[in-house]
Structure formats: structure tokens, C-alpha cells
């Protein structure tokens, strides 16, 4: 009986206040879309980091025959120097940080160079002009600086490069995008909350006669307030569902169907990630409605 009553009231309230309810749905839809987009961007960044940082290495370039670098004034790196550098990486204090050391000889460097040079522009180069290098894979890529500091001054070392630098600009861009999406989401969430508050207040005012009578005949406060709370919650949840749908199809068509087939060397997030975000969006929607209800209802339907 009570459930029937509550749902009847919720339905009536939504029907009587269709425009307000719709605006709540749309505003929550847009705001949660931003929240979801921010979350997904972060997930994409994490995914890229995992994927790329696992592949990238520190490259310790060794002195070539003739270099303008002061450190290489003594000429090309000697075999003894190479052994010393390897010893520092593999046996010294750094050995905990280093996962694997791989030596790329001049010939190998040349081979790679030629393989990438389809048009033969660099064909005048000889293996002797290439730089040998140590490629170091770290157990924790974040510890780059420690390894760089320890190896940079060693005799025979030309320059130390962290390949992650290539990506840092991209990650900075993606992080900025997340911040913007999150900021927009925050503004929209405030708008959504204010709208829900107004909707509940209007609804409560338009049904003051009913609530007055309910109070008078002794119905519990929860029964009086429940329909209004549910009204807000239903509208907000509808918005969340729309947002989830939007994100799902967005990821599906833009990323899975389009980007994945055209830009293939990147690991992308997928619809399963949207489904991971979905429960949180629902929680936010319901939480939003709950906060708005608590703020409003205390004043308009006191016992």
C-alpha cells in the first residue's frame, strides 16, 4: 500500500513538473558526462603510461669518434670505459633500480638506422660514425633521475636520455584536458544540485495541501518526504543513465570503431572502462539528489 502510494506520488510529481524534471535530467546528463569524460581521460593516461613506460628505456649514449661534447674530448669510448659503466649499472648501488642492461653496438645502431631510412637519404653514413649506447630498462621508470645522475659524469658517456620525455608533453596535455573537464563537471554539478533543490521545493510547495494533511493524520516523516526525494533521485538517475549511454556510445564509435582502426599503435580505453565508471556516476547522481533533498526538505515538510 505504502509503496504503491509512494510511487503514485512520485509519478504524479514528475508529471506535474515535467519541464523542471526534464531540466534536471538534462543538466545531470551533461554534468555527469563531463565527470565521466574526465575519469576516462585519466584512465586513458594511466593505460598509456603503463603501456609506454614499460617499453621505454634510458639511453646512455657513449662517446663517438668525433664529438663536440667536452666530455668526449678524449675521443671514442674505450672498451675499459664501457666495462666500468656496465659495472656501475649492474653491480653498484644502482643494480636494484635496473632491470636489464642491453648494449647497442655501432653496427646495431647503424642497422636500425638504415632499416628506418627507406629512401636512402643517410646512405653516406658509416657504422663508425654511429654512437654505441647502453639501453637500460628500469624496474621503476620514475627513478630515472637517480640513474641519470649516477651515469652522466662517467668517462666515456656522451649524454643520457630518458625516452619518457617524448611523451611528457602529451601527458601534460591530457592532464590539462582532465582538469578542464573536471572543472566544467564541478560547475555543472553545482548547477544540477541547485536545479534539483528548486525542483524539490516547487514540488513540495505545489503539494503543500497533501503534506499538511499527511502531517495532520500522523503519517511518518519518511513517508511524507520520500516521494520528493525519489522524484529528485529518479530525475538525477535518468540523467546519469543518459550520461553513461553517451559515454558508452562515444567510446564505442569514436575510439573502438574509429581511432583503433586508424591509429593502431596506441592502447585505448574501451567500453568496459565506461562500465567501470558507470556505477560511480550513478552514485554521484543519487548523492547529488540526496544532498539537495536534505537541504530542501527540512524546511518544507517539517513534522
Amino acid at each position: 500500500m505504502r509503496l504503491r502510494f509512494i510511487f503514485g506520488e512520485v509519478f504524479n510529481g514528475l508529471r506535474r513538473n515535467t519541464t523542471m524534471a526534464l531540466s534536471v535530467v538534462l543538466v545531470t546528463f551533461v554534468s555527469l558526462m563531463f565527470v565521466g569524460a574526465a575519469a576516462l581521460t585519466q584512465m586513458q593516461i594511466d593505460q598509456l603510461k603503463d603501456d609506454w613506460y614499460g617499453k621505454v628505456e634510458i639511453a646512455i649514449f657513449l662517446c663517438p669518434e668525433s664529438s663536440r661534447n667536452e666530455r668526449c674530448a678524449e675521443g671514442a669510448v674505450t672498451a675499459a670505459q664501457e666495462e666500468d659503466i656496465r659495472a656501475v649499472l649492474e653491480d653498484g648501488a644502482l643494480s636494484d633500480l635496473v632491470q636489464k642492461v642491453y648494449y647497442e653496438s655501432r653496427e646495431e645502431a647503424y642497422g636500425k638506422f638504415v632499416a628506418n631510412d627507406d629512401e636512402g637519404i643517410w646512405s653516406y653514413l658509416t657504422p663508425e660514425q654511429m654512437q654505441p649506447s647502453f639501453r637500460v630498462k628500469l624496474s621503476d621508470p620514475e627513478q630515472y633521475q637517480v640513474v641519470a645522475d649516477a651515469t652522466e659524469g662517467l668517462p666515456g658517456v656522451d649524454v643520457v636520455r630518458d625516452q619518457r620525455e617524448i611523451f611528457s608533453e602529451l601527458f601534460r596535455f591530457l592532464n590539462a584536458a582532465t582538469v578542464i573537464a573536471a572543472a566544467l563537471a564541478a560547475v555543472m554539478l553545482i548547477a544540477a544540485m541547485l536545479l534539483i533543490t528548486t525542483t524539490i521545493r516547487l514540488s513540495a510547495l505545489s503539494r503543500r495541501r497533501e503534506t499538511q494533511i499527511m502531517r495532520m493524520v500522523g503519517s511518518s516523516r519518511s513517508l511524507i518526504q520520500m516521494p520528493f526525494m525519489l522524484e529528485g533521485a529518479v530525475a538525477a538517475t535518468a540523467g546519469a543513465v543518459l550520461a553513461i549511454g553517451g559515454l558508452f556510445f562515444g567510446v564505442r564509435y569514436l575510439i573502438e570503431d574509429w581511432l583503433k582502426s586508424s591509429v593502431t599503435w596506441v592502447q585505448y580505453i574501451g567500453t568496459s572502462d565506461v562500465l567501470n565508471v558507470a556505477p560511480w556516476l550513478l552514485v554521484i547522481a543519487v548523492g547529488l539528489a540526496a544532498v539537495a533533498s536534505i537541504v530542501t526538505l527540512g524546511r518544507y515538510t517539517r513534522a
Binding site: M1, R2, Q212, I213, V217, G218, S219, L223, I224
Partner: protein
Amino acid sequence: MIRLDNATKVYKRGARPALDSVSVEIERGDFVFLVGSSGSGKSTFLKLILREERPTGGDVYVAGRHLNKLSAWRVPHLRREIGAVFQDFRLLPNKTVYQNVAFALQVIGKSRHHIQSTVPEMLDLVGLSGKEKRFPHELSGGEQQRVAIARAFVNHPPILLCDEPTGNLDPGTSVGIMRLLDRINRTGTTVLMATHDDEIVDQMRKRVIELRGGELVRDQDRGVYGLERV
């Protein structure tokens, strides 16, 4: 059934009390008129009993409950023991006579079966059988007040509070309403009626409690409206 011990209500600090140290006891089954001019404290008296307001001094007991100590979530249970009727009827315009009465039972969680058997009984008691499907605007003032009484009494509360129930009605119709209230009183229900209607008070010859400026100035069995008529 209802007892006020030195009940005092001051709305604003420093202002004159709306109710000043009033002590009254109303027994089960009593029919009591509460009279006094506007601003005499009648409304405050009723609000204290309904626990819409708390006393600022003294104690209020209703239906075995000490209202000073009653927590907010117990208030609905108190209100189920008190039926309330108002001058302006307070019916829901978009519900029929039947739905208006049934509403009072629905919102306290009664079963549909219970509602279907109780509501027609109650409409019969107040003399509205056959008008179940009418809307309030299709009824006369007296009939609307009967619907309101049916709604207040449908849960058979031991106390019925009436705030000027005949205030909007002509004398002939008022008599009918008073007969109905008298009938309800005879079932053992305590009826407390605030009124300005001197003719009715004089005719009924029931207990009269008079307030003036928040003070109890008269509590008389089988009384009349004004002291000067004694």
C-alpha cells in the same frame, strides 16, 4: 485524556505569553468548548495538544504521552490518536469524497482491504452515502465539512480537535455538524472544539473553557458562551 499543567507558551522572548500558566484536565469522553476572542490563545492551546508547538513552561500530557519529552519521530504516532477538523475543511480538490477519506488511511499504511471496508462505513456515519464519487467543489460547505470530519475520524482516534468547524457555515448547516460531532462524542471520543459561535455553545450546554489574553478565566460545566449570560 488531555492535561495541561501550568502550560505556558511564549513565542518571542520578552513578548506577552500566548498562553500563560494554564492548567486544565479533560477526561476521556468529554465534550469541551474552547472559547475566547481572537488572540486569546485558543490556537496555541490546540497547537500544544497537536505538538505543533512545545510549551516554554509547564507540562502537556495527551493520550498518556508527556509531550514535553516526546521525540520528533514519535509525533506521528501521537497525531494518529488525534483527529483534527478545521474551519477551511482542507480537502484535496483533485480527489473524490471517497479518496479524500481513504487518503488519511493510506498515508498511515492501512491495508487496502481495511480501507475498502472502513471508508464507506464512515461516509455513512457522516451522512454522505451515495456521494462518494463527488469532488469537493461539487459539494455544499456543510457536506465538505462532513467529509473533513469523516477523514478526521476514520481512524477512530480517541480525541477529536475541531478549530472553528462551523466558522464558514450558515446556522442551519452548523446545527447538522454539531449533531454529528455530538454523535461522535457519544461513541466515547473526546471532543475539543474551539469556537466563536455563541448560539451553538449556548444550545449545547457542554463544558466551556474560556481563555482571555492567554489566561484561563473560566472552566465551567454545562456553560454558555459569555460570562455575562450566566
